[in-house]
Amino acid sequence: MNVVIAKAETGPGLRSILAIPRGRLPGAGRVAEVRRQAFDAYAHAGLPHRRIEEWKYTDLRALMREVLPLAPIPDVAALDRAREALASAAMQGAQKLVLVDGVFAPELSDIGALGADVSVRTLRDILENAGLEAPADLLLTNISDVMVSLNTAMATDGIVIGVADGAAPVAPIQIIHVAVASKASAFTRSHVRIGNGARATLVESFVAAGAARGYQVHDAVIVSVGDEAQLEHVRLMADASDAVNITSDIITIGARSKLNLFNMTRGGAVSRFQGFIKMAGEGSELSANGVNLLKGTQHGDTTLVVDHAVPHCTSREVFRAVLDDRAHSVFQGRIIVRPGAQKTDGKMMTRALLLSDESEADNKPELEIFADDVTCGHGATSGALDETLLFYLRARGLSEKEAQALLIQAFVGEAIEQIGNDELREFASSLAQHWLEARA
């Protein structure tokens, strides 16, 4: 019998949590109680490791070792550095909301430009100003995951966005996380509520200001998509090459709605994007796609849990990884079909392109089906570039690098082309192009 000893890590992060200055963690009363319980849950389990099935391929005890202390509240110099980083991260035409080291930066955000049917508040504002009445459910989730618990305990700020019923803001809303402090952690918890019949585009970007090194990003976003609503949600992760990024998206989709989710991971030494997506209303469609572009010793994990709780929903997952050097990509895709969720149609396809002998791709599809009239399927491949295709291109005059770049671009294009918004698709495509050019 294996005895798993849930040894809690005792790095400086955990110790320092006890010494967090008053006011860094907003919320009193019930909120403080929720935080304490979440912290206890984390302290009991510690960082997840390889014997926790969900974290089998991403052993945070080995990869990240400890949780770093909270980053200080950014000062004027830090905000100036963040401003420089925004130049390349901000999308043209988007309304940007900027979090610097886990603290909302109104001076860098376009908060005034949002229309009347889009409400924006900060998590800190709501938790602090509602006093003992503060809605603790901004921190509660129904997900049992230790890194979500840690986020619940430690979230310093975040953005709470509401798109009114029937509203369709034209400009994408872009949340940009900028890391400025080195060797420190930022914890954010955001909420996005898309009203019934509303349509919106949400971009979330993660970048480092020039000299930020060795930092940790802990983010969680709770999304609720109403009935007959549409959300395009694109995540672009470009953290510093020695940073850690652990992000959880917890999403609920209403009836006859559409969610188009896309994640691109280019940065970070260790990253995990975990999406928990619940199909809670009938007749809805989910398209969840992603690209990992990794080199050096980068470790990038995309884990999606799609929960078909009701009948007549469709889910599609297209995931691509391009791996060079000793990079390691993980894709875990679980599709759950609950009893009675008949006529569920769920498919996932994951493919990895290994550009070097030492790169590694782990694909773990899981289907848990408890209904008998469903269509579910998955496929996974990994391999090198096709020599026949390479020769054809070279025989037409393309150099080896050009031929590889064109084929890689096409390979990731199968996932990128799932993005519905034209500008976002172009933007994501150009980011992939830059990655390829930097490689060559």
Partner: protein, 250 residues
Amino acid sequence: MPLLEVKNLQVRVEEREILHGLTLTVNVGEIHAIMGPNGSGKSTLSHVIAGKPGYEVTGGEILFRGENLLEMAPDERAAKGVFLAFQYPVEIPGVATMTFLRTALNAQRKARGESEYSTPDFLRKVREVAKSLNIPQDMLKRGVNVGFSGGEKKRNEVLQMALFEPSLCILDEMDSGLDIDALRIAADGVNALRSPDRGMIVITHYQRLLNYIVPDVVHVMSRGRVVKSGGKDLALELEASGYAQFDDAA
């Protein structure tokens, strides 16, 4: 100076010798047909000229306008003017035909130190050639050869040939998988490219293609060598008598 000189070429694939001292000279303005049974080494010859990996040249040489072709990477050969029309053109999903054509053309021009084509000039040229080959515009927007019929794939090869204007065209079994109408369109495209500045090698199993693309010289290959050369009538003789006689001779 001849356009292409293949001298006593010996080639192995995985320890097995496929070409045992093949010699062939092609001058500009000439069309050479290479005929022969399956396994005689016709496609190997075309692959080695184009620079496909996996072949080991153990003897002999290939000169292109006097330069050692075997020392060049496949893309350098393309830029110098060597073009292989593939027997089985590959499908490349996710790479739009137009993007591919433009990238390839500009890569070749850049390698030759020429300026890149401007967009209007490029589009005009592609449209013009596509129209003459009966290639619809929407085909150019699709992934390279994705969902193309056999005939469309071969026409796409001829389209590239017309666009890149190579000085040596090698057509590897262009007739395979084509019905008579598709063959006629492709052959018309090739004939339009006949020029005093260009040489061609037409590799085929059957005489039929040579009714449409009439060669100046016909070579018969058997067991890795050219065993007989003659005028265009040689192809007709072969059609009547078959390849068996050369198997005995080889």
